[in-house]
Amino acid sequence: MTLNSDGIDLHRERPVNEVLGLVVGGSLGQGLEVKLGGGNTWTTVEDVKVGSFVTIRGKRSRFFCVVTDVSLGGSDPRLKHAPAGIQDPLIADIVSGTIAYGTISVLPTLTMPNILGDQSQVPVTTKTIPSHFSSVYTATEEDVAMVFGEEDNKHFWIGNPLDMDTKVCLNLDELVKRSIGVFGRSGTGKTFLTRLLLVGILQGGQASSLIFDMHSEYGWSGRDADTNTMVKGLKQLFPSQVSTFTLDEEHSRRRGSSADEVVRIGYSDIEPEDIELLRETLDLSDVAASACYNLQREFGQHNWMKEFLNRQGPDIIELASRLNVQPQAMASLHNRLSTRLGRFDFLGEKSSFDASAKIIEHLERGKHVVLEFGKYGNNLTAYILISNLLTRRIHNRYIEIKDAADGGQGRDPRPVVIVIEEAHKFLNPSVGSQTIFGIIAREMRKYNVTLMVIDQRPSAIDSEVMSQIGTRLTCSLDNERDIDAVLSGVSGSRHLRGVISRLEAKQQSLIFGDALPMPVVVHTRSYDETFYSQLEYGSSHMQSTVLGETSAERLEREINELF
């Protein structure tokens, strides 16, 4: 038995993977430079992929690092100019790895326990780097598992590191503590990733979710446009835990989904700031939008919209001069509101249905609420209006409940994650500071409300809001400004840039932030039949199984029930 100075049995150390190379330089901030080769192995650059993991065995600790770049180096610049002799295969073999060698840049992120199975030590953020010529190894599955945790009811399996079978698990408690961002070009897998996150949150039970489901993809089945098949929605997977609301009953019924509630909104629910947020989509001038406030002052919150829309031609001009608003602006406001909002079936002069109260009621019962927009899915005006209006009310209500709870009356409201698509429409710098979503993002989880923003143009989101997003998941992005925005405020972002731009076009994402110990590129878990069947075992609150049924039979029964 060989004991080192700390009395640790060296022979009990974990078996190591092959040596990739040696540390030859670098810094904590900029990352380490590793020369490939050395020892008896001659790794070529082609064996190493950006985004993969390596461990470095320093003198005292082991470091867990991610590969951020791969390059070719040479000890003699003349090699480039006069590569004579290299045609000879023997000479080429000798020279490659020695004089002409590969280097990789790695970013040390965590310090690992030196000994496998040592439970007293957990990976922690690294504050130093290994010394010169420390050996670098490909990380083993065990190393990766130690870092990204095991699947349990607090850790949700979101995908696998590239080329590895190990699971990457999100810490659900951390995930829902602050806002979540899901980014990526169109068609890269944002919707699928969001479905997974929602299942995770639902199973973990840390929070309820309220989903403003623009394209009706999350509640009932959604269409996979690529394969032209249907994928299951939350309601199908967790019927007893999910409530669906709809703005378009007809549409829901056609899709075979019976919504639990049909949402109706009264004119009296609309506030001037809702219209203000629609300025861009309704193409209103500043003056026209702010005229709503004058109208509200004149007629009161309850009646302003109804009164205004009931007026015609000359009455509007008269009203304008009475309220000291430019007549032209008043007329265009009237025109936009009546033609654009007037078309919405869900909007009426009066509504006895208090949608926000209903939603809160469901949320408080621990349900997850999906609001389907049906035919209004392509109508940004409807989406912004409804999401904003309902969220504002729900937020107000949460503040009341929370303040009461803080004052010793009642319980804290159940944490809720509000999911919005096209988030930059709500959170761009010109409106982000005033809208309810901007407020929620900034106040963090003070009132137990956080956001999950889904967007393909993160650069259009207010940077202050962006900085409050705790966990970011990004699929492929190609616009430089979008990449910058996603990485804003992240240390080591220089290295991550390249990683994002090289993500595959589908089902790959870079995940970083609160819910993970370090940034990682994953092949997103497939959301498919296999996933559905894995859920049965993963969740105790799953719908009941018919006794004696095998999982295959059960799957078949469920499919039959659905279609």
């Binding site: 023997l90 000479i91 020279v95 004089i99």
Partner: protein
């Protein structure tokens, strides 16, 4: 790959000059120097050296050799017609020290003091040639004198080594990489040596 014909231990000569880095030896028989790049053992316990320069010259430097074969049929005829020639000439060779043996252990660095004059010089047999060439530290030790050891000698050493290894191509690769590490900043020189190690 087949091994070359076996080598034997032969006593070939004696040290006639000696310094920290090298020895000069005289052969007992004219033209019987070991080949360049081969490993020789000097004295007991042995100091190891690599054969570098081989030269044959008049014993008496003041008596230059004259051409004698103008009317001879062949070169051997020249020697036959002038039987005194071998007595007037001597073959000498230089050996670069690369290591030594101490307490049965091979050391791949210079002996603390060079071999004494009249130390006997032996060729190495296949077994020790294989042992000494496969320890690439000896190769490193030799390249550390790269400024004075010629590319040819280094290449000959490697070639010679390869002949006595079971896997000569693996050996060439490993030795080549040692050379590449040692000569990392001098690609042209490395290239020049490597082109000469091909068997």
């Amino acid at each position: 790959m087949a091994l070359d014909k076996p080598l034997e231990v032969r006593r070939v000569g004696e040290v006639i000059e000696s310094d920290t880095y090298s020895v000069m030896a005289q052969c007992y028989e004219l033209y019987m120097a070991p080949p360049i790049g081969s490993v020789i053992a000097i004295g007991t316990p042995p100091v190891y050296a690599i054969v570098n320069l081989i030269k044959t010259e008049p014993l008496d430097p003041s008596r230059p050799i004259l051409a004698r074969g103008k009317n001879s049929e062949s070169e051997s005829q020249v020697y036959a017609d002038n039987p005194q020639i071998p007595r007037l000439l001597a073959t000498r060779f230089e050996g670069f020290l690369i290591g030594y043996q101490e307490e049965e252990m091979d050391k791949a660095y210079l002996p603390p003091v060079p071999p004494i004059i009249h130390s006997f010089i032996y060729t190495c047999d296949s077994e020790s040639t294989k042992r000494l060439t496969s320890d690439l530290d000896f190769l490193r030790s030799m390249i550390s004198q790269a400024a004075v050891v010629s590319d040819e000698v280094i290449a000959a050493f490697v070639r010679n080594g390869a002949k006595y290894q079971e896997e000569s191509s693996d050996y060439l690769l490993a030795a080549g990489r040692v050379l590449a590490e040692e000569l990392a900043g001098d690609f042209p020189r490395l290239n020049s040596i490597l082109r000469r190690v091909r068997l």
